[in-house]
């Protein structure tokens, strides 16, 4: 256990004289006496941080390293020297850092090639203490490519080698490259038997190794899933380690390992090991009686496990009072909290934000796909208030978790119409969008998109808080996901519900504001966006802008030329059926306008294209084109006769008559309606 006493530079340190004496004795000729001195030195520094610091200041590390590296020195001397270094590594964090800076690590790693077990153990203990400290120089483990394979070779020699090597590997496997390296050197075969070790201090680090190597790694996870220990499948052994008679950290780690394997697709999410062992274990870790860090880890791992699986979300939502348990996280500290001791309380207060973030992440996962679960979450007393509070939490981790949670919940159409109206999510959400980093921006703007779909009455405050400008800015970003969210949100904003209830109509004001803020240039740029989803939503926006007569005429009046140009460009370009259909629908909308009709009628090229689409192979395009024609010839409109004449001359009426033989009922109806207009 490393102590964190601060090193004090003590001029009148009482042990100083002794320290110098020790140093002198290390430079003698008589090797027996030198050994004797090293042992005395060892006894002096064990348990005494001040003495460790003091001896290091006198330069003892260098001398000891000389012994250790000297192949001709007696192995006893080399071993005792390694043991002294090991003790120095058990001092304060600053001490460990100094050791590392003195170049101890590569030398000790090199010495692992020695054949003397006691010497190797001494080196390993020191390395273990260094690598499990905060100052762990992870990269040094990988500098010499021979080190890791050799470690895995010698790991089973003694309980000490087992414990130390597992601890080192568990701390140093940080990237997928590291995982790959360990895997290709047979880490699974070498360490699997250790999971069944009778010694806890070997078993636990071994388990940790399996956790770190399986994380987001499909290949390793699959290999672990099919590995065996004494002919038992390894996953079965992991399940055993989840049982309640094991220590909390062991239960947590084994549940975590199973979780990682499941997410990496090595275990089915319906596997009983997941549903009946890993999941309930994680839920249990969230309980009130567990320590704060255990509850945080449990909730975070749980969130990760169920994130993409509907069935697991369902099971979790009705398991063991999970939802009320998690809500307690958001209320921490509450009147229900029992004070254990001041130190513990102090720690918990400082870290309560972790509880909030973990709970919000868990809720985000729980409510991701199922409407009933969302309802349950939202109906939990005061929960929405906490979520909204989370949006303005001082800690960014909490804010991000709150937005993710809100995002999941905003997928509920019903909730959008009801509870989000009651809760002032707008202001904090808008605030989050300013100065947000990309992660936050993506989730927050997605959430905004969803909220804008239904939440029409509140568009006023949205406009006032600069939502439109913000969204328009998003459409200019390099990241297509952000552009998509921006344009999608604008599209939703411009959406007008055809209803007698005036409250649900997007005002002309909103539409104008969008057009002005976005600018026709940007709009047309988006109409040629390389990302087809962005293009579709832009067309959607355009369609929404042109959705009632006065608006159509007004907008076409101002931008008609450019809009027609853009439409032609798309119809002429290589695009999917969906894109062409949307474009034709826009034309149909334009043709519904009064003065706007002229834009189409005056453009022979467009008219020709429309007639072509009437006989296109894809019936959806035929329908859209026919709809357009239908609007143009609508006989209640002024100027219908002239338009009918022109179109008749172009052979449209004949085409319509041809289409009467269509088997598609929708098309048939449209064609019939259109023909009826002709006088």
């Amino acid at each position: 256990m490393l102590m964190d006493t601060s090193d004090m530079i003590c001029d009148t340190y009482p042990g100083e004289m002794i320290g110098r004496e020790y140093m002198e004795n290390l430079y003698g000729e008589d090797m027996d006496r030198v050994l004797h001195s090293v042992v005395k030195l060892k006894n002096a520094v064990i348990g005494n941080n001040k003495q460790k610091f003091h001896m290091m200041s006198l330069g003892v590390v260098g001398r000891l390293l000389e012994f250790i590296q000297n192949e001709r020195a007696a192995v006893g001397l080399r071993t005792e020297s390694a043991i002294v270094l090991g003790s120095l590594a058990k001092g304060s964090q600053a001490n460990v850092k100094r050791l590392v800076d003195s170049g101890v690590v590569p030398i000790l790693l090199q010495c692992l090639n020695n054949s003397n077990l006691k010497f190797v153990e001494g080196c390993l203990r020191c390395l273990r203490s260094i690598f499990t400290s905060q100052a762990a120089p992870v990269e040094l483990l990988y500098t010499d490519p021979g080190v890791v394979p050799h470690m895995l070779d010698i790991v089973s020699q003694s309980p000490t080698t087992q414990e130390c090597i597992c601890s080192i590997l568990a701390q140093c496997c940080k990237t997928s490259e590291h995982q790959g390296l360990l895997y290709s050197n047979g880490v699974i075969e070498s360490l699997a038997p250790l999971l069944a070790s009778k010694m806890y201090k070997v078993q636990m680090p071994a388990l940790r190794v399996f956790c770190v190597i399986t994380y987001t790694n499909q290949i390793v996870s699959s290999a672990v899933a099919s590995a065996t220990v004494s002919e038992r499948p390894l996953p079965d052994l992991l399940v055993e380690l989840c049982l309640r008679d094991k220590s909390v950290e062991m239960q947590m780690s084994s549940a975590k390992c199973l979780t990682y394997m499941c997410r990496a697709n090595a275990l089915s999410s319906q596997d009983s090991k997941i549903v009946y062992k890993a999941l309930p274990t994680l839920i249990r870790m969230c309980k009130k009686d567990r320590r704060l860090e255990e509850r945080v880890e449990g909730a975070e791992t749980l969130a990760y496990l169920i994130e993409v699986d509907l069935e697991l979300q369902r099971i979790a939502s009705y398991s063991d009072h999970l939802i009320p348990t998690l809500s307690e996280f958001l209320r921490y500290p509450s009147t229900q909290t029992t004070v254990m001791d001041l130190k513990r309380l102090d720690y918990d207060m400082k870290h309560s934000y972790e509880l909030r973030a973990a709970a919000l992440m868990a809720f985000a996962s729980l409510g991701a796909n199922d409407e009933d679960i969302r309802k349950k979450i939202i109906e939990t007393e005061n929960l929405m208030d906490h979520v909204v509070c989370g949006l303005s939490d001082p800690v960014i981790r909490v804010r991000l978790a709150a937005v993710r949670c809100l995002h999941s919940l905003s997928r509920s159409v019903q909730q959008l119409r009801t509870s989000f109206q009651d809760h002032a999510v707008w202001k904090p959400l808008m605030k989050l969008l300013q100065n947000a980093d990309d992660d936050m921006l993506t989730v927050a703007s997605s959430t905004l998109c969803n909220l804008l779909l239904e939440f029409s009455p509140s568009k006023e405050p949205m406009l006032e808080s600069g939502a439109v400008d913000l969204l328009c800015d998003l459409t200019k970003r390099d990241d297509p996901a952000l552009r998509l969210n921006g344009i999608w949100a604008l599209m939703n904003m411009a959406f007008q519900v055809e209803t007698k209830n005036m409250a649900f109509q997007a005002e002309q004001k909103v539409k104008s504001q969008i057009l002005v803020a976005l600018g026709t240039d940007q709009l047309f740029k988006l109409l040629s966006d390389p990302d087809v989803n962005v293009l579709m939503k832009t067309l959607g926006l355009l369609r929404n802008l042109l959705s009632n007569k006065p608006h159509i005429d007004h907008i076409m009046g101002m931008h008609g030329q450019q809009i027609m140009q853009a439409i032609v460009l798309i119809l002429e370009g290589e695009h999917t059926i969906e894109v062409k259909e949307q474009t034709l629908c826009i034309l149909a909308n334009i043709s519904d306008g009064t003065t706007a009709k002229d834009f189409i009628m005056a453009n022979d090229d467009v008219l020709k294209k429309i007639t072509n689409y009437m006989i296109h192979a894809n019936v959806r395009l035929q329908i859209a084109a026919t709809f357009c024609i239908s609007n143009l010839v609508w006989n209640e409109e002024e100027g219908a006769l002239e338009r009918q004449m022109k179109l008749r001359d172009m052979g449209v009426q004949k085409l319509l008559q041809q289409l009467l033989s269509s088997s598609d009922t929708v098309l048939f109806d449209k064609v019939k309606t259109a023909l009826q207009q002709f006088t």
């Binding site: 006493t5 009482p14 006894n43 064990i46 348990g47 043991i83 090991g86 001494g122 309980p159 201090k201």
Partner: protein
């Protein structure tokens, strides 16, 4: 109005009869004793017992010799010798158990005080023990008691005189012994101790439920008293 259970009243005779009707095999008892001897480090006794009782010393006796040496050193008051031995056997033990280390250092201090080496004691306290106090607040309390001994002409008669009692050495020796066994992944207390604890726990549970029965009050003697 509460409903109280009427507990059976039992006489000492009935109790003893019941106890006597239980049978514990000699072999089991021998194993318990062997376990005790080996755990606590009584090697010669264990050897002799093995011969006389005809049972194997089935516990791992790997560190037995070392543990005996360490215990002997402490019993003789040679604490620094004991620390050197333990550092040889398990170099990480005292670094990892600073509270245990403190108790060893405290014992050394006590030995210095016992020898009336006041200067030595003070210097030792200053050099080595100040750091302990910084690490752990509980330690400060115990440290103060120990140093207080220096204030008395006859420390044995002082309020903290029990620190000078040989049982204090025994306490430290046992603490160290347990720690060594734990690090070696062996059970650190003899099974006999667990059994006695079980007995005490059972009596406690019965007391909680207000049952009247003959208590075993003196564990060392095994005397059972009349129910009160």
């Amino acid at each position: 109005m509460s409903f109280t259970e009427k507990h059976e009243e039992i006489t000492k005779q009935e109790w003893m009869d019941r106890l006597n009707s239980l049978h514990i095999s000699r072999a089991d008892m021998n194993r318990l004793i062997m376990n005790y001897l080996v755990t606590e480090g009584f090697k010669e006794a264990a050897e002799k017992f093995r011969v006389e009782a005809g049972i194997p010393m089935n516990m791992d006796t790997e560190s037995l010799d070392e543990r005996i040496k360490i215990r002997d050193a402490i019993q003789k008051g040679e604490i620094e010798e004991a620390m050197a031995l333990v550092n040889n056997l398990h170099p990480e033990l005292l670094d990892d158990n600073r509270y245990l280390y403190f108790h060893l250092q405290q014992q050394h201090l006590i030995e210095l005080i016992r020898k009336k080496d006041v200067e030595g004691a003070l210097q030792y306290a200053q050099t080595h023990l100040a750091e302990r106090g910084e690490e752990n607040a509980d330690v400060l309390n115990e440290l103060e008691k120990t140093l207080a001994l220096l204030a008395f002409e006859n420390p044995e008669d002082s309020p903290f005189g029990e620190l000078l009692h040989p049982s204090q050495r025994q306490k430290v020796a046992s603490e160290l012994n347990s720690a060594i066994l734990e690090v070696e992944n062996r059970e650190s207390t003899p099974k006999l101790a667990n059994m006695l604890k079980l007995l005490l726990w059972a009596q406690h549970e019965l007391d909680q439920k207000k049952v009247k029965y003959p208590h075993m009050t003196d564990l060392a003697k095994g005397d059972i008293e009349d129910p009160k």
